[in-house]
């Protein structure tokens, strides 16, 4: 296992409530990513981080914010959850971009917004 823990693993909440998902790594990797997986869309990048306090947007960043105050933790926040954000969320880590460096994924968080 790549030393990635996502919490919670499952969550059900109501529209309009704030939600925070946590990704914790023990690998000391520089890069961390948040994806969502939806039928017919595969994995789509929400946000990523290339260091502490350094983040950038992915292709589906609207409605999401992230924070990385220390190397091991990357938080994804839905400020006001909507039903369209019901999805499975995956965190991934990567040691660097030089050479052939794959991402390694956590086991996901299944989020349902009613």
């Amino acid at each position: 296992d790549a030393g990635i823990t996502q919490s919670p693993r499952h969550k059900v909440t109501e529209t309009g409530t704030p939600v925070t998902l946590r990704c914790h790594q023990t690998e000391n990797h520089r890069y961390m990513y948040w994806y969502r997986q939806d039928p017919g869309h595969g994995l789509r990048l929400i946000h990523y981080s290339y260091g502490v306090k350094d983040t950038d947007k992915g292709e589906v960043s609207d409605g999401y914010s992230v924070s990385r105050s220390k190397t091991e933790d990357f938080l994804l926040t839905l400020e006001s959850a909507t039903s369209s954000q019901t999805s499975v969320y995956f965190c991934a880590i990567r040691s660097g971009t030089g050479g052939n460096q794959p991402q390694h994924f956590g086991d996901g968080t299944r989020l349902s917004i009613l």
Binding site: H41, G42, L43, R44, G99, N100, P102, G106, D107
Partner: protein
Amino acid sequence: DQQVKQNSPSLSVQEGRISILNCDYTNSMFDYFLWYKKYPAEGPTFLISISSIKDKNEDGRFTVFLNKSAKHLSLHIVPSQPGDSAVYFCAASYVTGNQFYFGTGTSLTVIP
């Protein structure tokens, strides 16, 4: 617009035969390609990769082929086993880039 495409949502193969999963991409600047395997309720697991300086990479039963002129890569699994039944995602990146671009996945079923 989807830069990485997997046009076959599903594939069924008999145990012991070859499985061929296909992936097309549109961005000729991609130079690093990967395949991931995903079981239900688990995260994707890295399977095999290839850089654009090669046209083939092999790891046990898994071989990835890259055809840069056609912007096409394929994953061959020989022989296929029931435990290979999973969703397979292809992905592409720039070697020095921060992001990966994923296809929509192909669900492989290996029939015993």
